[in-house]
C-alpha cells in the first residue's frame, strides 16, 4: 500500500510555499474541472453550435449552409477542444482517486477511468473531427456533408453506453462504500444519469420529435440532469478533498 505523501523536502527555500500546501496536487486537479466545463460550454454552445444540436430533419442544402455559416467558429472551437480535452482525463483521475479511498475494491476506480477513456472518443472527439471535416471544405458533395453532420450529432448524443457504465460503476461504488467518501444521494443521481442516457438511444430511429438527437427528452432533459449532476460532483469533490487527511493511506 503506498501512502499519498509530499515529495521529500530538501531545504526550506527549495520549493515555493504554495507547493507545500496539503493536498495541493488534488486541488490543482480539482480546478481543471470547473475550467474545463466553462470551456466546454464556450466550445460546444457558442462556437461549434453542437449544443443545442441543430435539427436532424433539414435538407442537404440547409446542412451545407450550416457548415458554411459556422465554418470558422467550428474549427476554432474544436481546435480549442483538442488542447483542453486532456482536462477531462485529470478530472477522471481525481474521481478515481476518491473512489479508491472508498472501502470497495479499486476495480471500480479502474472501470470508471476505462469507461470514460472509451467514452471520450465517440462523445467528444469523433463529433469534433466530423464537424471540422465538414467545416474545413464546405464545398464537398452535399451527401458527404450530410454524412459528416449525422456522424457528429449521432455520436455526440447517442454515445451512451460508456457513460451508463461510468455511472453504474460510480453508483455501485458509492452504495457499497462504508467510508462515506461521497454521499449516497450522488449514487441516486447517477442512476438518473443512466436513465437519461438510455433515453438517448432512440436518436438512431427518430429524425424529429422528443426522442430525436435534438429532442426535448433525449437531449434537453438529459442535459439538464447532467448539469445538475456535474454541479453536484464538483461541489462534492471539493468537500471530499477538504475533509481528506493529508496523511491518509490510500489503497493501491
Amino acid at each position: 500500500m503506498s501512502a499519498v505523501s509530499a515529495a521529500p523536502v530538501v531545504t526550506e527555500n527549495a520549493r515555493p510555499a504554495w507547493t507545500r500546501r496539503p493536498k495541493i496536487d488534488q486541488w490543482i486537479c480539482w480546478w481543471t474541472i470547473p475550467i474545463f466545463y466553462n470551456l466546454f460550454g464556450l466550445i460546444f454552445v457558442v462556437l461549434t453550435r453542437v449544443m443545442p444540436p441543430p435539427r436532424p430533419d433539414i435538407t442537404p442544402e440547409q446542412i451545407v449552409a450550416f457548415f458554411e455559416t459556422h465554418s470558422l467558429t467550428i474549427r476554432i472551437g474544436f481546435a480549442l477542444l483538442m488542447f483542453f480535452i486532456g482536462f477531462a482525463s485529470v478530472a477522471n483521475g481525481l474521481i478515481a482517486l476518491q473512489i479508491k479511498r472508498m472501502s470497495v475494491s479499486p476495480v471500480f476506480a479502474y472501470a470508471y477511468i476505462g469507461a470514460l477513456v472509451v467514452g471520450g472518443l465517440p462523445g467528444c472527439l469523433l463529433p469534433a473531427f466530423a464537424f471540422v471535416a465538414g467545416a474545413f471544405r464546405p464545398d464537398r458533395d452535399p451527401q458527404i456533408m450530410v454524412m459528416l453532420y449525422d456522424w457528429c450529432l449521432l455520436s455526440f448524443v447517442g454515445s451512451l453506453g460508456c457513460f451508463c457504465t461510468q455511472n453504474m460503476v460510480l453508483a455501485l461504488a458509492i452504495f457499497l462504500d462504508k467510508n462515506d467518501i461521497l454521499p449516497k444521494w450522488l449514487a441516486y443521481m447517477s442512476i438518473w444519469m443512466i436513465v437519461t442516457e438510455l433515453l438517448a438511444s432512440p436518436v438512431f430511429i427518430f429524425k424529429s420529435g422528443p426522442l430525436a438527437w435534438n429532442g426535448s427528452i433525449s437531449f434537453y432533459v438529459g442535459t439538464a440532469v447532467f448539469v445538475v449532476w456535474e454541479f453536484a460532483i464538483i461541489r462534492l469533490l471539493y468537500v471530499a478533498i477538504k475533509n481528506q487527511s493529508p496523511t491518509e493511506q490510500i489503497q493501491d
Binding site: K184, Y188, V195, P202, F206, G209, P210, L211, I217, V221
Partner: protein, 198 residues
C-alpha cells in the same frame, strides 16, 4: 442516518413528532425522479394536445384490462411492502421478510404482464415507431419497467438484510419501501394518462 424512532403516544397511534421515513438520500432520489418523470408526462401531454385524434385512436388499442390488473398488482405489492415496514418496526422480522417477498413477487407478475402486453401490441404491428402515441407508450412504460427492476434489486437487498440479525435496520426497510411506493405512484400516473383519460 435518520432517526427511526416514531413516537407512538397512545393507542390511537398519533405521532407526537414528525418522522422522516428512510433517509434524505432516498428522498432526494424520489423527489428528483418525480420531477424528471413529470417533465416526460408534460411533454407527452403537449404532444397529445397537438395530435388529439391520433392519440385518441391509438389509445383504443391499449388493453385497459391488463392496465387495470397491473395497477391492482402494484397496489397490492405496495400493501405488502408497507405492512413489512410496520412489522419490521414491531420486531417481527420473519413476517416482514415474507411480506417483502410477497411485494417482490407482485413486481415480477407486473413485469411478466407488461412483457405479455408489449408482445401482443408488437404482434399487432404497433411498435415503437408506429406513431407518436406508441412511441410514448413504450418509452414511458419502458423507463417505468427499468424502475420496477431496480426496485426488485432494492427489495432483494432489504430481504437479505432482514435475514441477517446483524444487519437488520428499520431505516433500510423504509428506504426500500419508499422507493417501491414511488414506483407504484408513477404507474398510477401512467395508467391515468395513457389508459384512461381521453
Amino acid at each position: 442516518m435518520a432517526n427511526t424512532q416514531t413516537a407512538e403516544v397512545n393507542a390511537g397511534g398519533t405521532t407526537t413528532r414528525a418522522h422522516l421515513p428512510s433517509n434524505k438520500d432516498m428522498w432526494v432520489f424520489v423527489l428528483g425522479d418525480l420531477v424528471i418523470f413529470s417533465s416526460y408526462f408534460i411533454i407527452f401531454e403537449i404532444y397529445r394536445h397537438q395530435q388529439r385524434q391520433t392519440f385518441l385512436s391509438a389509445q383504443q388499442h391499449l388493453s385497459l384490462s391488463i392496465g387495470v390488473v397491473n395497477t391492482l398488482v402494484l397496489l397490492a405489492s405496495s400493501w405488502f411492502v408497507a405492512q413489512s415496514v410496520q412489522l419490521t418496526r414491531a420486531g417481527e422480522y420473519e413476517r416482514a421478510m415474507r411480506l417483502t417477498v410477497g411485494g417482490g413477487l407482485c413486481g415480477v407478475v407486473f413485469i411478466l404482464l407488461k412483457a405479455y402486453e408489449w408482445s401482443t401490441k408488437i404482434g399487432h404491428g404497433l411498435t415503437f415507431g408506429s406513431n407518436d402515441f406508441f412511441m410514448f407508450y413504450y418509452m414511458l412504460t419502458g423507463v417505468h419497467l427499468f424502475h420496477v427492476a431496480l426496485g426488485l434489486v432494492f427489495l432483494g437487498v432489504v430481504f437479505f438484510e432482514l435475514r441477517n440479525p446483524k444487519l437488520r435496520r428499520v431505516s433500510m426497510v423504509e428506504t426500500g419501501a419508499t422507493y417501491w411506493h414511488m414506483v407504484d405512484l408513477l404507474w398510477v400516473v401512467i395508467f391515468a394518462l395513457m389508459y384512461v383519460m381521453r
